[in-house]
Symmetry: C2
Subunit: 455 residues, 2 copies
């Protein structure tokens, strides 16, 4: 493998340096040991095609690598794979003003696309805490969601065209940026969310939106879980929300401690909601707030009076994940329908307090989308191995609850390695068998990210 | 086949009556001869499963049938197939208020869902001229678009869950109405637009929207094709459009004659645009109109002053297809990107006036989505056969132009029988081979709508 691979890439774009292997062979998970055999940095579609064909010919495996901000091990290379980094394919190749389409190489960083849009008076609405380093290709591979899904949808909703190299080394140019194209199976949507198991996303046509008007942010203090949903419903009846996030008081304490931030409200509440909406809806939002106060589903609230204050309020939500990192949290990324959420939460809370009496459990997430991030924190005295084993013992019980309530065991983090063995809680045996069959169609020799998603 | 099939359905729900076979064996195309062997009317998911398994066991083919408003022969049964009509599965089974999801059987008529939404203060935005008879299952099978795509997207964007029976007789419950679900390949999106070739859509969770405020309609007269796009751009900079349609003066003449309608403007123009937008954007729209007048891209215009007048203006656009029907038009449903449209139109116009000097050619469509409906009208003296042969001779040249301009040979009507032999103009050989392989995965014995889409 080595010789032919070295012939494909100049020495400046292939590395076997130990620290490079460790760096590019892992994502934000900590439970896996990075052990790729090489990292390559293609610069063109042709190089990617040649690489995939070589992998098929010589029987080595490829792991696609973007911003490595994933939380499920989808970009981990732990078995001698060749990591395909898109760091050198980070250009925006063109802009179609009439269609508002940006043609992006897979390695374009989310934040760079957002800035590109802003420069043109437009808006790329998919946003999350890791937008400063996550890449478009990775966003597509996991159908990334984030903080504005309630208004703008997921990555899937903004991809008008995809250029992919299948596991067999064929180039597919899917949909070409068209709004309407009823000519058979839409492979674009099959590749979105496929976690690099069918092929490599090399380029995407990304649609941009008109920017929203000025935004306002509110943080509400809620006395209970149920009250969050009552508040959501009260606001949604009259206000188009750009975001509806929540966090528990423990999550707030963690982020405040890590960043030395003041509390948003005078008195602590068990739960907080963070809302964002158009300034033009301020009157409607204020009325909704008053109604919530009267009904008792909100105890107190604060409204941003400036962009700076809005950013400080957002920091309380967006800083949580990072503030927990030192405690190597076991992350659950769950979703159920809003209508099933209260019953699910009651059952999950009971299970968790019984299963993890000695662990801290941090609840937060994109609750307006039915998406909970439930982080179990490793106590200082525990080894990561022992902690993980314990969490893995409880996970099936939690996932069984998710399944009973019709939910998903991975709302937006993907399956990767972390949830691979639990896929059956969200997909039926027939679906898993069909997924395996599709994998074989697109990647007959199994060179694409083997072991991820389907195991 | 007969006996086992008769054992599955009571006599009231299976028919072999010649007029029934003709009725349920065809759609809105006229070029094909309906010749199914039977029509069945299942009422439950279990009946559909039993039917598909019987088809596999006994080797007969199934043709799914919704409102039969298709324009590409996708629901035509011309080779002794059993037609599966969803006319008896036309109930809305439930409503999830928190998620705004309507659980619809496949046979729910589009208009009935729109009315259901309206009764709840909500809105189902997918709309088109045939919404009074088209069914949700058929809309899903073709990813139906229509008149409000520019604002609300296609059917795909509103389907949060699908229950399907694969060609192998397996039941898949896809996505369960979740907003976020990152657990592998999204079969929902594979079935949307698959024209019944992978399995049968039995049920769907359809998301509903907040209704828009009051709407206003404008009809603009434009001196040339280019002027349409200048107008679109001028309006889109400041107004969120709910629709941007166009029609040629010939199309207007046809619909006015058929329905005895007055002209919208004092003087005829070569082309007309119909715009719809929120009344709250009226000032911005009026300014855009003034700018267009000054720039010369609009010659005259009319603004609706009442809902009744808005409906009369819409009738000019929505009545076109029906008004052409007596001339058995050869329909082309093309799309290219807006940015490629002017060059494409110039080339297409030159080709068509040279290829069809003696035929009337009617241009209209959802131009804001890059979607042209180009109808060639059969002159009275021609037999349908001779007319079709002539059109089929020219089609490859037109489709070659579409391909050269990166467009689609079927924007929203699907491929069916009509465009099957031309699929290669929009999909590469690699894509078609992969489509065939996927078909085999989901429908190993080829019982699902054989001959459609892939031939």
């Amino acid at each position: 493998m080595s010789k032919a691979l070295d012939a494909l890439f100049p020495t400046s774009r292939i590395t076997r340096d130990a620290s490079d292997l460790a760096h590019w062979g892992s994502d934000r998970t900590t439970a896996y040991q990075a052990a790729p055999s090489a990292v390559v940095f293609p610069e063109t579609l042709d190089e990617v095609v040649a690489l995939v064909r070589l992998a098929n010919a010589e029987g080595f495996a490829l792991v696609p690598s973007g911003g490595r901000t994933g939380l499920s091990g989808g970009a981990v290379a732990e078995r001698g794979e060749v990591v395909v980094s898109f760091d050198r394919m980070n250009r925006i190749l063109g802009f179609d003003a009439a269609e508002r389409l940006a043609r992006c190489q897979a390695g374009v960083v989310t934040g760079a696309l957002q800035a590109f849009a802003e420069e043109r008076g437009l808006f790329y609405p998919v946003d999350f805490a890791s937008s400063g380093s996550s890449q478009i290709g990775g966003n597509i591979a996991t159908n990334a969601g984030g903080i504005r899904v309630i208004r703008y949808g997921l990555t899937r909703d903004w991809i008008a065209g995809l250029t992919v190299v299948t596991g067999a080394g064929d180039v597919l140019r899917c949909n070409n940026g068209l709004v309407k194209n009823a000519t058979g199976y839409d492979f674009r949507h099959l590749f979105i969310g496929s976690e690099g198991t069918l092929g490599l996303v090399v380029e995407a046509e990304v649609r941009l939106a008109n920017p929203p008007g000025p935004q306002r942010v509110m943080v509400l203090g809620c006395p209970a879980f149920d009250a969050l949903f009552q508040s959501l419903s009260a606001f949604q009846q009259h206000v188009t929300l750009s975001a509806f996030e929540f966090f528990s008081d423990l999550a707030l304490t963690k982020v405040r401690t890590a960043r030395d931030l003041p509390p948003p409200l005078r008195d602590a509440c068990p739960f907080y909601a963070l809302l964002e909406f158009d300034e033009s809806a301020l009157d409607a939002a204020s009325s909704a707030f008053e109604r919530c106060l009267e009904q008792g589903c909100v105890a107190d609230g604060v409204l941003s009076q400036s962009d700076a204050q809005a950013a400080r309020l957002w920091a309380l939500r967006e800083g949580i994940s990072e503030s927990l990192a030192p405690q190597t949290p076991y992350k659950n990324d769950l979703s159920v329908r809003l209508s099933d959420m209260p019953r699910f939460l009651e059952a999950a809370d009971a299970l968790i307090s019984q299963a993890y009496p000695e662990f801290e459990v941090c609840w937060y997430g994109h609750i307006g989308d039915g998406n909970l991030h439930l982080n179990i924190l490793k106590p200082p005295g525990w080894s990561e191995q022992a902690f993980l084993e314990r969490c893995h013992r409880v996970s099936p019980e939690l996932f069984r609850l998710v399944a009973e309530h019709g939910g998903s065991i991975s709302a937006e983090h993907g399956v990767g390695l972390l949830k691979r063995d639990f896929l059956g809680y969200s997909r039926s045996p027939e679906e898993v068998a069909l997924m395996r069959a599709l994998k074989t169609v697109f990647d007959p020799n199994g060179v694409m990210n083997p072991g991820k998603l389907l195991g």
